[in-house]
Symmetry: C2
Subunit: 203 residues, 2 copies
């Protein structure tokens, strides 16, 4: 029996649709005997490549998107959040922490990711602040001193940079972005196509 390849899930921690997708992807994957490989990326870096910018700052589209984030949460049966007053935020700090946790304590990386998303979107904690971000890892037994040291470690910065560069090389330009057996799916609203892909093996 050959194990099926994992679903690659790319996300930015400041992405509302990424936050919603993070609450759906595991159950979806589980229905089809897949695992999920979680990849924190930095949309700010991606936007330099694509020449685009944050959705909410585009005239007309920005106002619509704020409405659509919340309606999409309700549509998918997920808890609705209020938009954080500070949005978007730079996500280097929490993404570096996740990159490090993924290496030193891989089993805690997914719970830590969910804690960051929850804190930012549902509790309006500024996770770009190292003190806040590090504190959110404590419940998972991740010691503050070690986490702060990781944030200052050039090897951790390099690892995240390599992750983002690798994502761009694979064509990733948004969040959430999924790759299943080589097939790319962008957006919370492609989970339906992604699931059919898993069922049919391609259509």
């Amino acid at each position: 029996v050959t194990a099926k390849a994992p679903i690659d899930f790319y996300f930015d921690l400041s992405s509302p649709y990424g936050c919603l997708a993070s609450q759906k992807i595991e159950a979806l994957a589980h229905r089809h005997d897949r695992s999920v490989e979680w990849h924190p990326i930095l949309l700010g870096v991606v936007f330099k490549k694509t020449g685009t910018g944050p959705l909410t700052e585009i005239p007309l589209k920005g106002e619509y998107s704020k409405r659509d984030f919340l309606r999409s949460a309700r549509f998918h049966g997920l808890p609705q959040f209020e938009m954080p007053a500070r949005f978007p935020i730079p996500t280097q700090v929490p993404a570096r922490l996740l990159t490090w946790v993924k290496r030193v304590a891989p089993g805690r990386m997914v719970p830590a990711t969910k804690a960051f998303f929850h804190a930012y979107f549902y509790k309006h904690v500024d996770i770009s602040d190292p003190e806040h971000a590090v504190a959110l890892l404590a419940p998972f037994g991740i010691e503050g001193h070690a986490a702060h040291a990781a944030l200052a470690d050039p090897a951790v910065k390099d690892a995240l940079r390599a992750e983002v560069d690798g994502a761009i090389e694979r064509g990733v330009f948004g969040s959430p972005y999924f790759i299943v057996d080589g097939e790319p799916f962008w957006g919370l609203d492609r989970l339906d196509q992604l699931e059919r892909w898993l069922v049919t093996g391609g259509f």
Copy 2:
């Protein structure tokens, strides 16, 4: 009995997702006793307002989108098209013709719209060419001489301009874009939310 308000359907004739949505929206509306009001618009004008541009010209996103147009057609059980070699095209000519047909022969406006979408995406006819566009109206009994006269009529240009300005005032920034009882839905991939909105009266 009060008649339910129509679904407003805004589209650009050079929009792949608009073409796909044009093949889905009537059956959806019919299931919920709604009519559809078809509004040709010009994305080129909208893009000046939003500061954005054609999806297919954005690095990374452009390549993905071409794949997604075709996969979305298959996902929705619609005939797949090949991308026209000339894409996008300016759509003033067919949009002006539809604006005029809507006024002088309203019952033929929707069939004419479908004929334009079909010719451009499935037959690769350049519908920005007045000769081609006018010829496509002949099967509906719309005489070529009158159609050419309409294209030269400043009142028709003004009517389309007013339609586009009105769309932007209502927040329309893309194609397809729907408004149902004041609620906006952007994209082929929001037909699911639109339908639930019709079923539930809002969620």
